[in-house]
């Protein structure tokens, strides 16, 4: 059996009996802290109470009404530092600081309820009375989908422009299958499509003033949510090294039909991944799953400074990845044909804390060593494309080319143009993008209402 078969399978979710058992453990808190800790106001306190009282359809309705990507969030959210962190069932108090630490598995319940809605074909939304206002949404990732769905629920004509061949953004091209499979994505997308949202794929809005022209082309408002699809690199002049990938290229290749090609590149080989975040974890674990002989994680700080979730770190360790902490790559080694052969690495030690509050790595002099590798993946962060500012020349951006948007409305410096998702705050969670979409949709409706007056 090819490693690919395993690779495609997301772990199964819990079933009705397990979800009911979890709901039964819920303390049904007054002023539920889990609800307060959901960035997208998905209201776990409400949907778990509904499940507890056997109002299963009502529970599904609560999730879908508050979060059109409730399924994706149920699977992908780092719940341990969101809703579940606030859960009273952890039994923490000043008298018991250690607590029982057994929060309700909110993410699993949420995922179950959404999968259950598909299983029993329960439709939350009725087709809304159509309205005349048209809104263009740039990008079909979580922010764009959320905004479009919110608008379509009220009958607005929402059209999503997507540069890739298929919709989903980071949910399709930026996450590995064993974390979030395409089958699941298609079902959640179908819920958005059923609301009447139109998708225009293979349609990048990247010409000069491309985004701003949409207002002239008959759209009453625009929501910019293109995401961040360029990658930082250690050595930009080395971009054409064969076998050196950015995490964006690598993860996308696993999803766009090139999985077998990637397996051939990785299987039986030595893979080195640079970085310490969730994306790096996806890269190393997938390389291990695809049969790499050795997978090295190269990270310049230490374990505690890694931004990845504990669960992802544990999972990567279990997959047999070698964690090379306190090591900073400084150069790539290539052969005559520009094929990667390995990395030059310096040892580091931790110094004082930097702006992020994490202790800063300092290179140890004369500590250079060499790691042989057949494939190197850089997972050190995504950024806005250099020319992106030309697509929206009048929209104010910051030094990192991230769009400046009002956090309460998503409004940019240009009337009628709103923005959300990673393009306004840098890499963040799916659930943050969902909220951006909701906030902007509300503001867009208000904006369009005023225009009519």
């Amino acid at each position: 059996m090819s490693n690919i078969d395993n690779f495609k399978q997301m772990k199964k979710g819990i079933d009705l009996a397990q979800a009911m058992a979890e709901a039964d453990r819920c303390l049904l808190c007054h002023d539920a802290p889990c609800s307060q800790n959901c960035p997208a106001d998905t209201e776990p306190g409400v949907f778990i109470r509904k499940l507890r009282f056997k109002n299963i359809t009502g529970a599904i309705r609560t999730i879908k009404q508050n979060n059109i990507l409730g399924g994706a969030c149920g699977v992908l959210c780092p719940t341990a530092r969101l809703c579940e962190k606030a859960c009273s069932a952890r039994f923490k108090s000043s008298a018991r600081p250690e607590g029982a630490d057994r929060p309700i598995q909110i993410g699993k319940i949420q995922r179950f309820l959404i999968e259950h809605s598909w299983e029993r074909d329960f439709k939350v939304f009725e087709k809304a009375e159509p309205r005349s206002e048209k809104v263009a949404i740039v990008g079909s990732g979580p922010a764009g989908l959320s905004c479009a769905a919110e608008l379509a629920k009220d009958g607005y004509q929402a059209t999503i422009f997507e540069a890739h061949p298929e919709p989903g953004g980071v949910l399709r091209y930026g996450v590995v299958s064993f974390r979030f499979d395409l089958n699941f994505l298609e079902k959640e997308l179908a819920d958005v499509k059923a609301l009447g949202v139109q998708f225009k794929c293979n349609t990048p809005i990247n010409g000069p003033e491309g985004a701003e022209k949409l207002l002239e082309e008959g759209y009453n408002a625009v929501f910019l949510a293109p995401g961040l699809w360029d990658a930082f690199s250690l050595k930009s002049e080395n971009k054409n090294i064969d076998g050196l990938f950015s995490s964006v290229e690598y993860l996308e290749a696993l999803r766009n039909g090139r999985l077998l090609e990637m397996e051939n590149k990785v299987c039986g080989k030595t893979v080195a991944v640079i970085g310490g975040g969730s994306v790096a974890m996806d890269c190393i674990e997938s390389a291990a799953e695809l049969g790499a002989q050795d997978v090295y994680l190269i990270y310049r700080r230490s374990y505690l400074q890694m931004p990845a979730e504990t669960e992802e770190l544990n999972s990567a360790m279990q997959a047999g990845v070698h964690f090379m902490l306190l090591n900073q790559p400084v150069d790539y080694i290539t052969d005559d044909a520009d094929r990667i052969k390995g990395l030059q690495i310096m040892r580091t030690r931790l110094g004082e804390a930097d702006d992020s509050g994490r202790r800063k790595p300092e290179i140890i002099p004369d500590s250079q060593w060499t790691l042989d590798a057949d494939v190197v993946i850089e997972a050190i962060g995504n950024k806005a494309p250099d020319d992106s500012t030309q697509w929206w020349p009048h929209v104010k951006v910051d030094a990192k080319k991230l769009i400046k948007a009002d956090p309460l409305t998503g409004l940019t410096s240009v009337q009628g143009i709103f923005a959300g998702g990673d393009i306004i705050r840098g890499p963040a969670l799916v659930v943050n993008a969902v909220q951006d979409g909701k906030i902007a949709a509300k503001a867009i409706k208000a904006y369009l209402g005023k225009q009519e007056e």
């Binding site: 058992a21 039964d24 453990r25 303390l27 049904l28 808190c29 007054h30 002023d31 802290p33 009273s88 069932a89 952890r90 039994f91 923490k92 108090s93 000043s94 008298a95 018991r96 607590g99």
Partner: protein, 433 residues
């Protein structure tokens, strides 16, 4: 476990090595099963009700349904089980085997007849084949014949008549088993006493409906499209069992030993039945759920409890709590108390706030910044609802208040609401005292 504790008890002149018996049901259906239970530690058995082969016994299928509550399964079981469907000869052979193999365990034969003659016949057959005692089944909720099953239990003269007939036929002690599907059990128990009964056992199952199928509107259990109101047992019926046992224990005119039944699973359940007047206790649903092994924990738990308190004999415990039962008008209303909160223990779930605000004295304020309840002591009704739902043991406790303390009057209408009210309530003159 202390070896010095002797759990044995005398019941109707027979010595039981402990008070724990199987009740008459599927758990006491055959010699093989009963033998297993004796090996596990049960002191005796009330063997499943004999039938005299006069009419064939056919069990419905399926024959049971249960109620789950949250994560807890089987808090009650409803059954449409009949009396033994085995030929009388086989059951009697089982008696002979059990008495030979387990002479120190007590074998009680449950019998049910449809006429005076049949009652006498079954009683004699049981005695002749080794039964130590009889239990007269006046209470099976599924025998739908006038003059039999629970209908006997509701026709008191028949109880007396059948008991007398049995007593005339045998010399072994006779227990009369009562149905709870009446208001006052003391009355039929007294009829049984008049007929010569040596003891009373209670309760048989409570008539109930454990659920309704929502696809076909057939209540449970669904016996091919039909259901029947039938006997319900298990932890959910324990308060009903304790009520009838305690009420009979209070009745001096009755004065018979009692065998308590109803939702017993642990030594604590058993002890509660004992201190409310039972000399022996009987279990079925607990075994249906967990098997015969639970008796090990009943024996060990009760022994250790008695050792800790220096109680030597189970008989010293029988009826111990009965004198503390009064009518509500005999309470000392002058003494009042409230809840007190140790909020250092609080985990901030706020369930106390919900129940106090929606179902009690509205004595709590919610400090949302700190996620803590703040008690207005003067408004607390001491209903203790908050304590019942609080997930942290010891956080909410009861405290008696000094005699001069006055509870704030329960909610009067908010002045804001009052000003919008244009009418005075209609109040008639109260009847003279």
């Amino acid at each position: 476990m202390s070896d010095k504790i002797d759990l044995s008890i005398d019941f109707c002149g027979k010595k039981f090595k402990n008070p724990f018996l199987l009740s008459s049901s599927p758990v006491s259906n055959s010699a093989e099963m009963v033998a297993q239970s004796f090996e596990a530690g049960w002191a005796g058995v009330v063997f499943k009700t004999l039938n005299s082969d006069r009419i064939p016994i056919i069990h419905p299928s399926p024959r049971m349904h249960c109620i789950n509550y949250g994560n807890k399964r089987e808090i009650a079981v409803q059954n449409v089980e009949m009396i033994s469907d085995r030929p009388l000869k086989h059951n009697l052979m089982d008696f002979l085997y059990l008495k030979k193999k387990y002479p120190d365990n007590i074998l009680i034969a449950s019998i049910m007849g449809f006429s005076v003659e049949e009652w006498s016949y079954l009683a004699k057959a049981a005695e002749d084949n080794g039964a130590d005692m009889l239990e007269l089944n006046f209470s099976c909720p599924h025998i739908s014949v006038e003059g039999a099953g629970y209908k006997v239990g509701q026709a008191f003269h028949l109880i007396e008549q059948f008991t007398a007939a049995v007593k005339k036929s045998v010399t072994i002690p006779v227990i009369a088993k009562m149905t709870p599907n009446i208001t006052d059990m003391n009355e039929p128990a007294l009829f049984a006493k008049n007929g010569g009964a040596d003891a009373i056992s209670a309760i048989n199952t409570v008539r109930g409906i454990s659920g309704v199928g929502l696809d076909d509107w057939v209540p449970k259990p669904n016996v091919f499209g039909k259901s029947a109101i039938s006997g319900t047992s298990g932890p959910a019926v324990k308060p009903i069992g304790l009520n009838f046992i305690a009420t009979m224990a209070q009745c001096q005119e009755l004065g018979l030993p009692l065998s308590g039944i109803g939702g017993i699973e642990t030594w604590i359940d058993a002890l509660e039945f004992i201190v409310l007047g039972s000399s022996t206790i009987q279990v079925t649903t607990g075994i249906m759920h967990y098997g015969y092994g639970i008796v090990e924990d009943m024996i060990e738990g009760l022994s250790d409890c008695m050792a800790e308190r220096g109680i030597k004999r189970v008989s010293d415990l029988v009826g111990k709590a009965v004198p503390n039962l009064y009518e509500t008008n005999q309470f000392d209303f002058a003494r009042q108390g409230i809840t007190q909160y140790d909020t250092d223990l609080c985990i901030g779930c706020g369930q106390c706030y919900t129940v106090c605000n929606d179902a009690a004295g509205q004595a709590l304020e919610w400090d949302s910044a700190n996620r803590l309840p703040r008690l207005n002591e003067d408004k607390c009704l001491s209903c203790m609802l908050c304590q019942f739902i609080c997930p942290v043991p010891g956080l909410i406790t009861y405290k008696e208040m000094p005699a001069e303390w006055q509870r704030q009057e329960t909610a009067v209408m908010d002045k804001n609401l009052e000003k919008d009210l244009n009418y005075q309530p209609f109040i008639m003159d109260a009847p003279a005292a």
